[in-house]
């Protein structure tokens, strides 16, 4: 029992720390329908900026703001590459991710920077409490933004580009705004993670995109995504569930800590394949039933007029 509580608490804390990352990934993958791989780079950018600012004596909150701004810029670059440079979306993200690897090393000055003993945002408040407040605040802000005129245009950019363009929105601009905002959140997540682990590492961002994706997919599968409000909530809960699953899996003796990324990949694969298979099976069953129904109709009323049509 105590063990479970411990796993639970650790998972919730980690889940909340990475929930902002998951919200960022939700914006690009789900709202914009833009598979953005910048994330692996911008997560590190966030932790690097925060760590270096903290080491130089800036307030940890200012450091978080700096990280957020850094993420915004990185995302805007990816958006520009894709929209103005006409580079394929996946490739734009990969290019930016690679570029950021060098940039992050420049920011850090060495492969990793310790901030142990410096002032941090979690000094006077537990990470769970603070992250809960921050994550809920960002969730509500994001929900509100997505209901504004600009937010609606951003959602429509991912839903029907041709339509929103014919209504006068510049879809290049909305794409850049969306990708930028997404990476801002990702970098902010990196800043908080660096402050709980007390260091920033140039490789800490590797695999972050898959973690974010896992949270989004798991959350949507379990909690549903009917409205924006539901979807963002699902993404946050998905981030927590993902941590619980991973922690539980790692407790199996055979697994080692280094298997984390493999486990993550497998979870994402299952979460992706399962709904598709389920709906296919459902469809098949439905089709069989309908066909049988129609057949029996024909047999009982051979000359009945065909009915149905739209509606």
């Amino acid at each position: 029992m105590e063990l479970f509580l411990k796993i639970g608490e650790g998972s919730i804390q980690l889940g909340l720390l990475y929930a902002l990352l998951a919200l960022g990934v939700y914006i690009t993958f789900r709202i914009l329908d833009f598979p953005d791989l910048t994330v692996d780079g911008s997560f590190t950018t966030g932790s690097a900026i925060a760590a270096v600012m903290i080491v130089h004596g800036f307030s940890p909150w200012l450091a978080c703001l700096g990280a957020f701004a850094g993420g915004l810029v990185a995302g805007a670059c990816t958006g520009l590459l894709h929209t103005k440079g006409k580079i394929n979306g996946l490739l734009s993200g990969i290019l930016m991710m690679i570029a950021l690897y060098s940039i992050n090393l420049r920011i850090l000055g060495s492969p990793n920077v310790s901030i142990f003993g410096s002032d941090m945002v979690f000094d006077h408040i537990s990470p769970i409490t603070l992250m809960l407040i921050i994550v809920i605040a960002f969730k509500l802000l994001l929900d509100a933004f997505l209901r504004t005129d600009m937010g609606l245009a951003l959602r429509a950019t991912g839903d029907n580009k041709q339509m929103i363009r014919s209504l006068g929105a510049n879809t290049d601009t909305t794409t850049i705004i969306g990708v930028s905002l997404s990476n801002g959140l990702v970098a902010l997540s990196g800043a908080f993670v660096a402050q709980t682990s007390t260091f920033a590492d140039a490789t800490s961002g590797i695999g972050m995109i898959v973690i974010g994706l896992a949270s989004v997919i798991i959350g949507e599968a379990i909690f549903g995504a009917k409205t924006v409000f539901r979807a963002t909530l699902a993404v946050i809960l998905g981030s927590i569930v993902y941590r619980i699953v991973v922690t539980a899996a790692l407790r199996i003796e055979w697994f080692e800590a280094s298997d984390l990324k493999l486990i993550t990949a497998v979870i994402v694969i299952i979460a992706l394949v399962f709904p598709a298979v389920r709906s296919k099976v459902k469809q098949k069953g439905l089709a069989k039933k309908r066909s049988a129904e129609l057949l029996s109709n024909i047999q009982t009323a051979p000359y009945s007029k065909p009915t149905g049509g739209e509606q």
């Binding site: 509100a144 933004f145 609606l152 245009a153 959602r155 041709q162 209504l167 006068g168 049509g309």
Partner: protein, 264 residues
């Protein structure tokens, strides 16, 4: 209102696939004109619509709207003057967003999109009122996802979204062609009503000759990238399908051979 001056457009120029979509098009619309456009497949009707709305830039020629040259403006910039309905009912609406959200986006046509809420109580009432004009009960389903609507309902919504901000020009590209006859009739009569009530300058492509004759105050026929026939209000009054067919045959020297052209 709308002036199209000597517009030409080639696709794949200089290759074996070269297609003359438009060649030397001249077209002038007066405010309130309702022009129906007919012509066989590949005549260049959709290309003309795309050039007016800025989706495609012409190789030569000018497009003027209300005395202003719009050649340098992108599609999204021209949208403040132009409402469009496409053939595909899926094209004009965002399926994963609600009816009221779709209308809110149309409400901001050609205006800046900032941080005020898209759907407010006042706007919702306006949307309800506008939707009830369609007479198909959508006003009671404001929060339904548009993807749940039938093709006919989606097209009616698209028509409303294209028109309720009173654009200077309305472009309709075979917007009833993908619907079954009953729904096509509904959309046609809604179109007629809305265009008349709002006095919209309209260009409507249709493959239905009877409809092209019955609606509007002017009819043009296109073939191989040219306007080959331009019938004004006076002559349109006693136009028949037979007369239209024989005119076409005289001008082009061939029979109207297109299954998609519906006679009645």
């Amino acid at each position: 209102m709308l002036h199209i001056e000597n517009v030409s457009k080639l696709f794949n120029p200089g290759t074996v696939d070269e297609k003359i979509a438009l060649i030397g098009i001249q077209l002038h619309l007066k405010p309130g004109d309702f022009v129906t456009v007919i012509g066989s497949n590949g005549a260049g009707k959709s290309t003309l619509m795309n050039i007016i709305s800025g989706v495609i830039k012409p190789d030569t020629g000018l497009v003027n709207i209300e005395g202003q040259s719009v050649g340098h403006l992108a599609e999204y910039q021209r949208s403040r003057w132009i409402g469009r309905v496409f053939q595909d009912p899926m094209a004009g609406t965002a399926p994963h967003m609600s009816i009221e959200e779709n209308l809110a986006m149309a409400y901001r046509r050609g205006k800046n999109r900032g941080f005020s809420f898209g759907v407010t109580t006042a706007r919702r009432n306006l949307f309800k009122q506008e939707l009830s004009r369609l007479g198909i009960g959508l006003e009671n389903r404001l929060r339904a996802k548009v993807g749940m609507l039938s093709g006919g309902e989606r097209q009616a919504l698209s028509l409303l979204m294209a028109t309720f901000t009173r654009p200077q020009i309305l472009l309709l590209d075979e917007h009833t062609a993908a619907l079954d006859p009953a729904r096509a009739d509904l959309i046609t009569s809604l179109t007629k009503e809305i265009v008349r009530d709002m006095n919209l300058t309209t260009l409507m492509v249709t493959h239905n000759m009877e409809q092209a004759i019955r609606l509007g105050n002017r009819l043009i026929m296109m073939d191989k990238g040219k306007i080959i026939l331009d019938i004004d209000e006076e002559r349109k009054k006693d136009l028949t399908i037979e007369r239209l067919m024989s005119e076409f045959e005289q001008i082009s020297g061939t029979k109207m051979a297109d299954d998609r052209v519906v006679l009645g």
